[in-house]
């Protein structure tokens, strides 16, 4: 078991969740409640990571984060070094790659709140901020939990994007999924089996947990 790789993966997943969930709440709510010209284009763009091969996305991120692009140069000035093959670069790539996993469950959850319930809250004298805090977030909670677990589990197991953008630098960009690949390449099947079993069990537990929360919510309020 490559503990360093596991720890790095957990750190990457946690940071991705931390940055992405607020983005998911703002964007998901916006997409759920607003109708605007070009909405389907925006949704298509955000869903691209679901269908694009991770290596393709990784390639574009590598190019755009690299020193040759203007975005890359800007980020380089900001961070003091180039972001490709670094942990910060991985976090950015991971946030972009996980956008649909965070936004879609949250968007569906906000969409499921009847408009009249939000309006009733306003008629009770609640300001829009209070409606969000007291009514919308508690009712969209299952979607948010689902987004957290999906993003976390998905980041933990991501391979293609990480390899393209981060490479395989121990302690910096070598995540557990890369470590498994690394071990198989070195004919160390035993380590690969232990780590794979760990990822499998972890994924099962997180998904089951998110279903459990959704079910409990449904039984209480549904």
């Amino acid at each position: 078991m490559d503990w360093e790789a596991l720890l790095l993966s957990v750190k990457l997943s946690a940071l991705t969740v931390l940055f992405l969930i607020p983005v998911g709440i703002v964007t998901g709510r916006w997409l759920a409640y607003r109708q605007f010209y070009g909405k389907s284009m925006v949704q298509a763009l955000l869903a691209i990571p679901l269908v694009l091969p991770p290596t393709v996305l990784g390639y574009y991120l590598l190019v755009s984060l690299g020193g040759a692009s203007s975005l890359g140069q800007l980020l380089e000035r900001l961070f003091g070094h180039t972001l490709v093959f670094t942990f910060e670069g991985l976090v950015i790539a991971s946030i972009i790659f996980n956008l649909p996993f965070a936004i879609q469950p949250i968007q569906r959850a906000f969409e499921a709140i009847p408009r009249e319930i939000r309006e009733a809250a306003a008629c009770c004298g609640m300001t829009p901020a209070k409606v969000l805090w007291r009514i919308e977030l508690p009712l969209a909670w299952t979607g948010i939990v689902s987004a957290i677990t999906m993003t976390f589990a998905h980041t933990l197991g991501e391979f293609g994007v990480v390899l393209m953008v981060g490479g395989n630098i121990p302690g910096e960009t070598k995540t557990i999924a890369i470590a498994i690949y690394d071990r198989v390449q070195a004919f160390d099947n035993e380590s690969a089996a232990v780590m794979s079993a760990f990822l499998l069990a972890f994924s099962m537990i997180t998904i089951a947990f998110s279903y459990l929360i959704a079910d409990r919510n449904k039984n209480t309020y549904g």
Partner: protein
């Protein structure tokens, strides 16, 4: 704020918009009064309520409530929903599913100090006969109980106007009758204007002090229910009030001495109440309520029998609870029929039934005239809106 608004009582609403549905609304409701907005679906009733609550922003309009201005397009003033003291009971009740009955009411009590909220919420639930069910979630309440929570929540904010959007449509008939009684009892203790949206005329007549008839976003007529039913301003209003006996005729003459107006109706001459606004020779619409149609006793004459007597065959006989609706065809060729409703015992005593011959009298006092329109046209419109 204008002086006029500060002294104004009740609620005054004027709304004009072209989109998404055209509106031309002008209505008012006094404190303690129940005003029922009645009209077919799509007539704009709910939109008016939403505009009053601040949930819909019409292009032009003014909403003034108990001395406060909520909307004034002329000066560009518009208060958001949470800044208006409204109590709104939604058709679906829109209870917060993650709060108990007590929690739902407490959410609308943010204007009170925290320690007082629970007690006040309990009081409100008791007032709507829900004591003992405070800790239930909406899911575990029946339709009628949910409606009561919604009413308690709407009252919690001490609203300046209470808005009820078809509040009885989602419950069964037995529960509905009980809720009618409860609302009637509750309203006596309320001092704010109450606006009730409904498409059920019987409900509106039972609960409201005044009706406001809406059609295609326009307020056609306001007045006490019985007055609107007896004297609609137009054939459209008569049709919306479910008037079955609506026809066209031509004015023959007016006789101010005997206070009568004579009408020619399909070859017959009818005597009507004196209504000199319509000039002789002009065409009019006319109607008569069932209560102004006299059924002749088979073997005994009575005083009213001489007024506009008509003979015909019963072509429809329907028992509606303790009354019977009878359609009497007075001219088979022209397929003209008059509908009357009589108590079941009257129908039995007179041996009424399908195919029986009867004689009826149209009391002149009950014949009400309205400006002429093609009736087929209104019927088709109504069916389209249906």
């Amino acid at each position: 704020m204008a002086d006029e608004a500060q002294t104004a009582q009740g609620i005054q609403v004027k709304l004009i918009q072209a989109q998404p549905i055209p509106l031309a609304i002008d209505l008012h409701c006094q404190p303690g009064e129940v005003l029922a907005m009645v009209g077919p679906s799509g007539s704009g009733k709910t939109t008016v309520l939403r505009a009053i609550a601040g949930l819909h922003h019409p292009e032009n309009g003014s909403v003034k409530c108990q001395g406060e201005i909520w909307q004034d397009s002329a000066s560009g003033f518009y208060l958001a929903a949470h800044q208006r003291a409204v109590g709104l009971v939604f058709q679906s009740y829109a209870l917060f599913p993650h709060f108990t009955a007590l929690g739902n009411v407490m959410e609308a009590l943010a204007h009170l100090p925290k320690i007082l909220r629970k007690e006040r919420a309990r009081e409100l639930l008791k007032r709507v006969h829900l004591d003992g069910l405070e800790d239930r979630y909406p899911k575990a309440l029946s339709g009628g109980q949910q409606q009561r929570v919604a009413v308690a929540r709407a009252l919690a904010r001490e609203p300046k106007v209470l808005l009820l959007d078809e509040p009885f449509s989602a419950v069964d008939q037995v529960t509905r009758r009980r809720l009618y009684r409860e609302l009637n009892e509750l309203r006596r203790s309320l001092s704010m204007p109450i606006l009730l949206v409904t498409h059920d005329l019987e409900e509106a007549t039972m609960l409201a002090d005044r009706l406001c008839i809406l059609h295609k976003g326009v307020t056609l007529q306001s007045g006490p229910p019985l007055e609107v039913a007896a004297h609609p301003v137009s054939a459209t209003v008569a049709r919306l009030m479910d008037q079955q006996n609506l026809f066209t005729a031509q004015i023959i003459s007016h006789d101010p001495l005997v206070q009568k107006t004579l009408l020619r109706w399909r070859g017959l001459v009818l005597e009507a109440r004196y209504q000199p606004d319509y000039s002789p020779g002009s065409r009019v619409c006319w109607m008569i309520q069932s209560s102004s149609v006299l059924l002749h006793r088979r073997n005994r004459q009575s005083n009213g029998d001489r007024e506009n007597p008509l003979s015909g065959t019963i072509i429809e006989y329907m028992i509606l609870g303790d009354r019977v609706s009878v359609r009497v065809e007075v001219d088979k060729q022209l397929q003209i029929a008059i509908t009357i409703t009589v108590p079941v015992h009257v129908a039995r005593r007179n041996e009424l039934g399908y195919g029986e011959q009867v004689t009826i009298s149209l009391l002149a006092e009950g014949i009400h005239l309205m400006p002429f329109v093609k009736l087929r046209g209104i019927r088709q419109q109504d069916e389209l809106i249906g």
